[in-house]
C-alpha cells in the first residue's frame, strides 16, 4: 500500500514538473526566451565591437536565462533621438520603443518627462552600483527622486593625440618640445611656430604654412575652457539654466581658437579632426578618447602617397592658469518601461555588459572608457587582455592608458542637462567654429591675407560674436 501511494505521489510530482516550470524568476524561462531590442548609434569599429558583445551575451548569459538581445544601429545620435521620440510619441509608422537604448542625460530628461524610463535602482543592489565610477553613476541620476535612469556603459573623455612622426621633424627643426602642448596658450604659440616652419619649407610659395592643431568639438572646448577658468557656461539649478559665460572668459576662448584659426594655425576641414590628421593637414588634435581607433596609422594624401606615422597620446590641454578639467562625455543606456520580464532582462544585459570582463573587452575594442572602478586601471585592463584574444592597437592602448590616468587625475566635467540643452550645445558647437571657418575662408580668398586677418582680429568683431552667442543661447534657454 505504501509503495502504491509513493508511486501515485511520484506521478503527481512529475505533473508539477511538467506543467509548473514555466514561471521562473521574473518570468524568464530558458526554454521560452524573450527578446529585447537595443538601439544605439555606434558605427564602424564600435558597431562591430558592440555586435560582438551582443552575440556573446546571447550565447552565454542570455542563453542561460532565456534572453535574446537584438541590437540595431541608428547611425547617428540625432537619428536615434528622432526615432526614440517618434516611438515614445507613438507616431504613425514608428517602431516600438526599444527595451534598451543609448542615451544622453539631456535627452533622458525629455523621455523621463514622458514616463518612459525605468528606475534602474530596483534592479541593482547598492553594492553592485558601488563598483561603478561614482561620477558616471551620479550623472545618470538627474530626476527629483535621484533615481538611476541612465546607466553608464560607454564613457569617454577628451585626449590629445599627436602625429609623433611629423612632430619630430618639426621639433628637431625648431627645438620645440611636447611640453609646449600641455597648455592651450602653448598650443596657440606652437601652432604659429609650426605654420611658420611649414611655410618656410616651400620658400617659393608664400603663405602655404600648415595648421598644427584641430579639435573635434568646439562645444567641449568652450564648456571645459570656461570651467577651467572657474566659470560655467550654463549654470543649472533645479533644471533651470542661466548663461554665465563672462566676456573675459569668452575672449580668452576666442584668442585661443578663433585667432589661430583665421591665421591658419588651426584647422577643421574634415568632418572629424582625425580625418585631417589622416590626410596630414594637422598633426595635433584634441578629440574624444573613443575616437582613438580613427587616428590614422599612416598619412595618405590624394596622390596616394602615404607614410606610416606613430602616435603619442597626451592628456587634454588646459588653460595655463586654469584648473585641470577634462570633459566627460559619452552616452549611457536607459531601459524603457515595459513589462517586468523585459525590464528585468534588460537590466540583466546591462549588468552583464558592464561586468569587468565584458567592460574591458568592449573598452578595448571600442576605445570607450571602462565604467567599472576596478576596470579603470590600466594594469587591470592589460591583465584582462592577456587572458583574452583581443589585440589592442598601440594607439588604442595609449589612449586608454592616458584616459584612465586622466579619469583619476583630472576633475571630470559634464555640463548639467536642462531643457533644450542639446540645442544649446549645438549652438556652442557651431558658433565659434563656423565663424572661424568662414572667416578663414575669407582670408584665403582675399588677396591681402594679413589685412584680412587684421580686419577680423578686432575687439568689435569679438564683441559682435560674443553678443550674438549670448543672444542665441538665451533664446534657446528661454524657449
Amino acid at each position: 500500500m505504501k509503495k502504491f501511494i509513493q508511486c501515485l505521489l511520484a506521478i503527481s510530482l512529475g505533473l508539477v514538473v511538467l506543467t509548473g516550470c514555466s514561471d521562473k524568476k521574473h518570468g524568464l524561462n530558458p526554454n521560452n526566451p524573450i527578446s529585447i531590442t537595443i538601439w544605439h548609434y555606434y558605427n564602424g569599429k564600435q558597431l562591430v565591437a558592440f555586435e560582438e558583445m551582443v552575440n556573446q551575451f546571447n550565447q552565454t548569459k542570455g542563453k542561460e536565462l532565456g534572453i535574446i538581445a537584438t541590437a540595431k544601429s541608428k547611425s547617428t545620435i540625432n537619428n536615434l533621438y528622432d526615432e526614440l521620440r517618434n516611438a515614445a510619441n507613438e507616431e504613425v509608422g514608428a517602431d516600438e520603443m526599444p527595451n534598451i537604448f543609448t542615451n544622453y542625460v539631456d535627452f533622458a530628461l525629455e523621455l523621463d518627462k514622458m514616463g518612459k524610463l525605468v528606475d534602474l535602482d530596483q534592479y541593482f543592489t547598492k553594492k553592485e552600483l558601488e563598483t561603478y565610477v561614482d561620477s558616471f553613476i551620479e550623472e545618470g541620476r538627474f530626476d527629483a527622486k535621484n533615481s538611476l535612469k541612465v546607466f553608464p556603459t560607454a564613457k569617454s573623455t577628451e585626449v590629445m593625440m599627436i602625429n609623433q612622426t611629423d612632430w619630430n621633424k618639426f621639433a628637431e627643426a625648431t627645438g620645440s618640445s611636447l611640453e609646449e602642448l600641455q597648455t592651450l596658450e602653448g598650443i596657440t604659440a606652437c601652432a604659429k611656430k609650426y605654420y611658420e616652419y611649414t611655410d618656410a619649407l616651400t620658400p617659393d610659395i608664400a603663405d602655404d604654412g600648415k595648421a598644427l592643431f584641430g579639435r573635434d568639438s568646439t562645444a567641449n572646448y568652450i564648456l571645459s575652457g570656461a570651467k577651467e577658468l572657474g566659470e560655467e557656461v550654463f549654470k543649472v539649478e533645479n533644471g533651470e539654466a542661466a548663461i554665465a559665460l563672462t566676456k573675459e572668459t569668452a575672449k580668452k576662448l576666442w584668442d585661443n581658437y578663433y585667432i589661430p584659426y583665421i591665421n591658419g594655425y588651426f584647422l577643421s576641414k574634415g568632418r572629424f579632426s582625425s580625418d585631417d590628421a589622416k590626410t596630414g593637414d594637422i598633426i595635433v588634435l584634441v578629440g574624444s578618447s573613443s575616437s582613438a581607433s580613427y587616428f590614422p596609422s599612416a598619412v595618405i594624401d590624394d596622390e596616394g602617397n602615404s607614410y606610416p606615422i606613430d602616435c603619442t597620446v597626451m592628456k587634454a590641454p588646459c588653460f595655463k592658469e586654469g584648473e585641470a578639467i577634462a570633459i566627460q562625455q559619452g552616452a549611457g543606456m536607459s531601459v524603457s518601461v515595459s513589462d517586468e520580464a523585459h525590464e528585468y532582462a534588460s537590466a540583466v544585459f546591462l549588468k552583464w555588459f558592464t561586468q569587468e570582463e565584458q567592460n574591458v573587452e568592449f573598452s578595448v575594442n571600442s576605445s570607450y572608457l571602462p565604467v567599472q572602478k576596478s576596470a579603470n586601471n590600466f594594469e587591470t585592463i592589460t591583465t584582462r587582455l592577456q587572458d583574452s584574444e583581443v589585440v589592442m592597437a598601440p594607439v588604442v592602448s595609449d589612449t586608454l592608458k592616458v584616459s584612465v590616468e586622466q579619469v583619476n587625475d583630472y576633475e571630470l566635467y559634464t555640463s548639467k542637462a536642462f531643457d533644450n540643452s542639446n540645442d544649446a550645445r549645438n549652438v556652442l558647437e557651431k558658433s565659434l567654429s563656423d565663424k572661424a571657418k568662414a572667416d578663414r575662408q575669407t582670408v584665403l580668398d582675399s588677396n591681402d591675407k594679413q589685412a584680412a586677418i587684421s580686419n577680423f582680429d578686432t575687439e568689435d568683431h569679438f564683441n559682435s560674436w560674443y553678443e550674438g552667442l549670448l543672444k542665441e543661447l538665451n533664446e534657446i534657454i528661454n524657449k
Partner: protein, 979 residues
C-alpha cells in the same frame, strides 16, 4: 497468511484499476488514430509556406536593388564616358590624382543619390585604371537607411580622394584609403567576377553580368556586407570598372524578420548557399536570428528534406543538439542560365522542433495530465468514501473502547446496515457480559472481605471500580465509578488526607481517615501493557497487631523501656551517626535482692519500675534507655554537646534516684540507689560491644568501690583487671584441665581443741587467676558457674579422699555455688565414687542476690539425700543475715570475719554474737567463728561459747591435711580451764 488490508486500500485499488484501464483505452485510441501526426504535418506545412512568403520578400528586395543598380549603371556609364571625353581622359588608362579628382568629383553626388534613393547601405564606383593597384574609386556608406541627413553627416567614405570627401563633408572610415587596393582585401570577387565575366560571356546585356557577392567585409574590423556589382563597359565593349551597391547584413536582417514563423525566439531565417543540387551540405551566408547564431555557431548545416512534406527539411549541424526543422526555398537571384546561375542561394526558415510542435506536445501532455488527474480524482473519491465508512466504524469502535465493560453498552447508529447490525450484536453481547459482571460483583461483596479493585486503561482513558470501594474508602454515595474524572478527583482528595503512607515497589500502604475512624489501606498495583489494576485492602487489624508485636518485641513489659535487643539495634545505628558525644551508662540497682527477699518480688518489681521511671525522665531524643536484665539498665547518651552535659544529666538522674523513695507495706521506705559506670564511645571504645563491656567494667568498678556511685571508665584500671573480667581462655583453661587445687583449713572445736572439720578452699593453679573470687566472677559472667560447682565437688572430694580415709570422724566443708545444682549424672558419679564421704560433707552457702528459692530447695534435697549438712557462710555481711538462717535452716552458721575481727575489743560485736548464739543454741545450730587471727579473739570466742573456730591463728590452710598444733589445742583447753 493473506495480509489483511483496510477498506480504504481495497476501494482505492479497485477504483484506480478502473481509471487506469479507461485511460489506457483512451490513449490508445487518440494516439492510434493519427490525429496527432496530422497536426504535426500541418505545422510543417505552415513553416514551409511562411518561409516561401519570406523568400519572396527577400527575393523581391534583392531584385529591387538589382534594378536600381541597373538604372544607375546605364546613366553613370553614359555620363562618365562623356566627362572623360570632355576632360580628355582615357578610362582604360591609369589616372593621376588630379585626373581622378576631376573625373569623379561630380559623380559623388550621383552616387550619394543612388545610395539614398535605393535604400541600400552603400554605393561604389571603382575604375580599373588599366589594372592599377590603387584603383580610383568612390565608395560611400550610409548605415542607417531610415533617415536622410542633408549635411551628409550620416555618410562615411570607405574609399575616394579625401579632397572630394572633405568637400562633401563626409567623414573617412577608419580603414579609409583614397584608392581601392584589392590586394589589401581578403575577398575580391565583388570586383573581379563581374569584371572578368564579360570576357567569358561576351554579348550579354550589362545587367546580365550582375554578381551578388558572398558575405564579406572591406577590412577585418569592418561590418559584414553583401554587394551587387555590374561591370562598366564602354561603348567599345571594354570593361573599365565596376559599379555596385552594398547591402549590410543588418539591412538584410530587417527584411528577414522572423516574427512570421511564430516560434517566439526559437527560430529564424538564414541564407545558405549550395553549389550543387545533390549536396545536402549548405554553407551559411547569413543568419538573422540570435537564437540560430547561438545554436549553429556558423557551422555548415545539413538539410535532409522530409519525404512527406515538400520544402521541409530536418536540420543538423556539427555540435548542434537542438532538433531543428526548416522550410527551404531557393532564392532566384540570377536569371536562368546566366553566368552566375550556379550560385544557389536558399532562404531557410529554421525553427526549433520542440517549439513548433509545442502544441502537439501540449496535447500529449494534456492527455497524460487528464490520465493522471483522473487517477488522482478517483483516488480522492475513493479516499473520501472509504474514509467515511472507516470513520463510521472508528466512531463505533471508539465508543466501544470507551464504554464501561461492566455496564450495558449503547452504540450509535451510523446508517450502514452491516455496521449497524454488528453494533447491535455487540450491544447484546455486552448486556450479557454486564449481567454476568454484576453477578460477580455481588459475589465479591458477599464475601465480606474488605477488598476492592480499580482497573485503569490508559489507551482508552477508562476506569472500572468495584462497587464496594464506596464503603471501603468512604467514597461519596453518589460517585460515578466509571467516570474517570470523578474517581480521580476522589483519589486526589484522598491522597491529601493521608496521615501516613509508605510506598514500596508496587505496594502502597497508607493510613487514611474514613468517617470518624482511621483505617489502614493497602493498594497493590499491577501494571500490564496499558492496563493498571489496583487491589485495595483494608489492613487496619493486621496493622495494629503488627504495631503491638513490634512494640512488644522492642520494649520491656515491666518498665516500658527498650529491651536489650531493641537497644542494641538502635545503639548500633546511633554510633554510626555523627554525634559529638556518645556515652554509654550502665546502671546496676543496689539492694534489689534485699527488697526481693524482704518484701517479695512484687516490691522488687516496683523497685525496678520506679527506677525505670526516673531513668525515663532523661530527655527522649537525646538518649535511649533500656533494661538489660533484672536490675541492670543501660543508657546511650548521644544528643548532648559536651561530655559535661552528659555527666550533669547522669548526676541529675542519680540525684533524683536518691530522692525517690519506695514505700513498703511496713511503713518503712527506702531510697532508690544504683551504681553506674560510664564509657565514652570513641574515647573509650570503638564498637558497641567494647562500649558496653567498658561501661560494665566501670559499673563493676563502682560496685566494688562503693555502691551507689558513678564511675567513669578508666583505661588503666581496666588494663589491669581486664583479664580477670574477660579472659575466657583463662577460665576455660582452668576448667578443662581442672587446674585447681584445694587447700584444707581445719575447723577446730572450741570445746575439745580438736579438729572438727576441714574446709576445702579453692586455689586456682593458673597464673593471673589466683583469686577464687575472680574465678567466681568470671564464671558468673560467662555462665560457667555450673562447671565451677562440678569442678569443686570433683576436685575437693578427690583431694580430700586421697588424704583422709572415710572412716575418720572429720567433717568436710565444701563451698558450693549458689543457685547451681549438680546434674543427676554428676550426682550419681560423685555418689558412686565418694559415697563413703558424703555423710560427713557440709555444704557452705551464701545467699546471692539472685537467690532462687526453687533451686535452693533442689540443692537441699540433694544434701538430704547424701545426709550432708548445710552451713550458712559469711553470716553478718549483707549477703547472709538472720533471715537467711531462718529460711535455710542450716546445721551450721559461719560468722563472717568482719564480725570476728577485733571482737575482743568490740562489745557490740560480742553482744551481737551472744544474742545470735542464744538463737542458734535453741535451734541446735552450730556456730563457727571465721578468721580468728589473734589469741584474744580466740579467747573471747571461747568466752562467748562459740562451737568452732577457723583462722590463721588456729591453723593456716594447707594442701596437706594435718592436725593442728598441739600448742593451740592446749591454749584452747587452757582458756576453758581458766573459765
Amino acid at each position: 497468511m493473506k495480509k489483511s488490508t483496510s477498506i480504504k486500500t481495497k476501494l482505492l485499488k479497485a477504483m484506480i484499476t478502473v481509471v487506469f484501464v479507461q485511460s489506457c483505452i483512451y490513449i490508445i485510441f487518440v494516439f492510434g488514430s493519427g490525429a496527432i501526426k496530422n497536426i504535426e504535418t500541418n505545422a510543417y506545412n505552415n513553416i514551409a509556406a511562411t518561409s516561401l512568403t519570406r523568400k519572396n520578400t527577400v527575393e523581391s528586395m534583392l531584385s529591387r536593388y538589382k534594378n536600381s543598380l541597373d538604372t544607375f549603371e546605364k546613366e553613370f556609364n553614359k555620363n562618365i564616358q562623356t566627362r572623360a571625353k570632355d576632360l580628355g581622359i582615357d578610362l582604360m588608362s591609369s589616372l593621376t590624382a588630379e585626373q581622378t579628382s576631376d573625373l569623379l568629383h561630380p559623380f559623388a553626388d550621383e552616387l550619394l543619390t543612388l545610395t539614398k534613393n535605393s535604400n541600400v547601405n552603400g554605393g561604389f564606383v571603382i575604375l580599373d585604371g588599366n589594372g592599377a593597384v590603387e584603383k580610383p574609386a568612390l565608395y560611400f556608406r550610409r548605415l542607417d537607411i531610415s533617415s536622410i541627413s542633408l549635411d551628409n553627416s550620416d555618410i562615411i567614405a570607405e574609399y575616394g580622394l579625401s579632397s572630394i570627401m572633405k568637400d562633401y563633408h563626409i567623414t573617412l572610415d577608419s580603414h579609409w584609403t583614397p584608392y581601392v587596393d584589392l590586394n589589401m582585401m581578403d575577398y575580391q570577387d565583388f570586383y573581379t567576377k563581374p569584371f572578368s565575366v564579360v570576357k567569358e560571356y561576351p554579348g550579354l546585356k550589362s545587367s546580365q553580368y550582375g554578381y551578388w557577392s558572398k558575405k564579406f567585409n572591406l577590412s577585418p574590423t569592418d561590418i559584414d556586407i553583401f554587394t551587387y556589382s555590374l561591370p562598366l563597359i564602354d561603348n567599345a565593349g571594354n570593361v573599365y570598372g565596376v559599379v555596385g551597391i552594398e547591402v549590410s547584413t543588418s539591412l538584410l536582417a530587417q527584411s528577414m524578420s522572423y516574427n512570421d514563423l511564430n516560434v517566439d525566439e526559437m527560430g529564424g531565417y538564414l541564407i545558405a548557399v549550395n553549389n550543387s543540387d545533390t549536396d545536402s551540405q549548405y554553407g551559411i551566408e547569413f543568419i538573422n536570428s540570435p537564437y540560430l547564431k547561438a545554436v549553429l555557431n556558423n557551422a555548415d548545416i545539413t538539410l535532409k528534406m522530409m519525404e512527406n512534406v515538400p520544402n521541409m527539411a530536418n536540420v543538423s549541424a556539427q555540435g548542434v543538439d537542438d532538433s531543428l526543422v526548416a522550410g527551404v526555398h531557393r532564392i532566384n537571384i540570377y536569371e536562368k542560365n546566366g553566368p552566375f546561375s550556379n550560385d544557389q542561394w536558399y532562404l531557410v526558415g529554421v525553427v526549433s522542433k520542440n517549439n513548433l510542435l509545442s502544441m502537439v506536445y501540449t496535447m500529449d501532455k494534456a492527455i497524460l495530465l487528464s490520465f493522471v488527474t483522473a487517477i488522482m480524482v478517483s483516488v480522492g473519491i475513493a479516499l473520501l468514501s472509504s474514509s467515511n465508512i472507516s470513520k463510521a466504524m472508528l466512531r463505533v469502535m471508539k465508543r466501544l473502547k470507551e464504554s464501561n465493560p461492566a455496564s450495558k453498552i449503547q452504540l450509535e447508529k451510523v446508517n450502514i446496515n452491516e455496521i449497524d447490525e454488528l453494533s447491535s450484536a455487540i450491544e447484546k453481547l455486552s448486556s450479557d457480559v454486564a449481567f454476568n459482571a454484576s453477578r460477580l460483583t455481588k459475589i465479591f461483596e458477599s464475601i465480606d472481605f474488605p477488598l476492592g479493585a480499580i482497573e485503569y486503561k490508559e489507551s482508552e482513558n477508562s476506569i472500572y471500580c468495584s462497587d464496594n470501594l464506596v464503603t471501603l474508602l468512604g467514597m461519596p454515595e453518589d460517585i460515578n465509578l466509571s467516570n474517570i474524572d470523578e474517581v480521580a478527583q476522589f483519589f486526589d482528595a484522598f491522597s491529601e488526607r493521608l496521615l501516613e503512607n509508605e510506598r514500596e515497589e508496587n505496594m502502597f500502604t497508607c493510613l487514611a481517615p474514613v468517617g470518624d475512624t482511621q483505617k489502614w489501606f493497602r493498594f497493590v498495583l499491577n501494571e500490564a501493557d496499558d492496563r493498571l489494576l489496583v487491589i485495595v485492602t483494608e489492613i487496619t487489624k493486621e496493622k495494629l497487631e503488627m504495631q503491638k508485636m513490634a512494640y512488644e518485641r522492642d520494649y520491656d513489659v515491666l518498665t516500658n523501656l527498650l529491651n536489650r535487643r531493641a537497644f542494641k539495634e538502635k545503639a548500633m545505628q546511633i554510633i554510626t551517626e555523627n554525634y559529638t558525644v556518645i556515652a554509654c551508662v550502665l546502671w546496676d540497682l543496689d539492694n534489689l535482692k534485699y527488697v526481693n527477699d524482704t518484701y517479695g518480688h512484687d516490691f522488687g518489681d516496683l523497685y525496678i519500675q520506679q527506677s525505670a521511671q526516673v531513668l525515663s525522665t532523661i530527655e527522649v531524643g537525646k538518649a535511649i534507655i533500656s533494661r538489660q536484665s533484672g536490675d541492670e539498665f543501660i543508657g546511650l547518651f548521644y544528643g548532648y554537646e559536651t561530655a559535661e552535659e552528659v555527666l550533669t544529666e547522669i548526676k541529675r538522674v542519680h540525684g533524683t534516684l536518691s530522692k525517690t523513695r519506695i514505700q513498703f507495706p511496713d511503713q518503712s521506705s527506702m531510697r532508690l540507689r544504683a551504681s553506674a559506670g560510664i564509657s565514652w564511645y570513641r574515647e573509650d571504645a570503638h564498637d558497641y560491644d567494647q562500649m558496653i563491656k567498658h561501661a560494665d567494667f566501670a559499673m563493676y568498678d563502682a560496685k566494688r568501690r562503693q555502691k551507689g556511685i558513678v564511675v567513669t571508665f578508666n583505661e588503666d584500671s581496666y588494663e589491669r583487671d581486664k583479664i580477670l573480667l574477660n579472659d575466657t581462655e583463662l577460665l576455660n583453661q582452668m576448667l578443662e584441665t581442672m587446674a585447681v587445687r584445694y587447700a584444707f583449713q581445719p575447723i577446730v572445736s572450741l570445746k575439745t581443741g580438736e579438729v572438727y572439720a576441714y574446709e576445702g578452699l579453692m586455689r586456682p593453679q593458673i597464673p593471673n587467676l589466683k583469686d577464687p573470687s575472680d574465678v567466681m566472677r568470671l564464671a558468673k559472667s560467662q555462665s560457667k558457674l555450673y562447671y565451677i560447682e562440678q569442678m569443686t565437688w570433683y576436685r575437693v572430694l578427690e583431694e580430700y579422699s586421697a588424704q583422709v580415709s572415710s572412716d575418720k570422724p572429720y567433717k568436710l566443708f565444701v563451698n558450693s555455688v549458689p543457685n547451681t545444682s549438680l546434674s543427676a549424672v554428676d550426682m550419681n558419679h560423685i555418689q558412686e565414687t565418694y559415697g563413703a564421704y558424703l555423710k560427713s560433707i557440709v555444704v557452705e552457702m551464701i545467699e546471692s542476690e539472685q537467690s532462687d528459692l526453687g533451686r535452693f530447695e533442689t540443692k537441699v534435697d540433694q544434701l538430704n539425700r547424701w545426709q550432708a549438712e548445710l552451713a550458712i557462710d559469711d553470716f553478718g555481711t549483707g549477703y547472709s543475715s538472720e533471715t537467711t538462717v531462718l529460711t535455710m535452716n542450716p546445721a551450721y552458721v559461719k560468722i563472717d570475719i568482719s564480725l570476728i575481727n577485733n571482737i575482743d575489743k568490740d562489745k557490740d560485736k560480742q553482744l551481737m554474737v551472744k544474742s545470735f548464739l542464744a538463737y542458734t543454741k535453741a535451734k541446735g545450730i552450730k556456730v563457727i567463728g571465721e578468721g580468728v587471727e589473734r589469741a584474744e579473739e580466740l579467747k573471747t570466742l571461747i568466752d562467748l561459747d562459740l562451737d568452732f573456730v577457723q583462722g590463721f591463728y588456729v591453723a593456716e590452710p594447707d594442701y596437706t591435711i594435718k592436725d593442728i598444733d598441739e600448742e593451740i589445742k592446749k591454749e584452747i583447753l587452757s582458756y576453758h580451764q581458766k573459765n
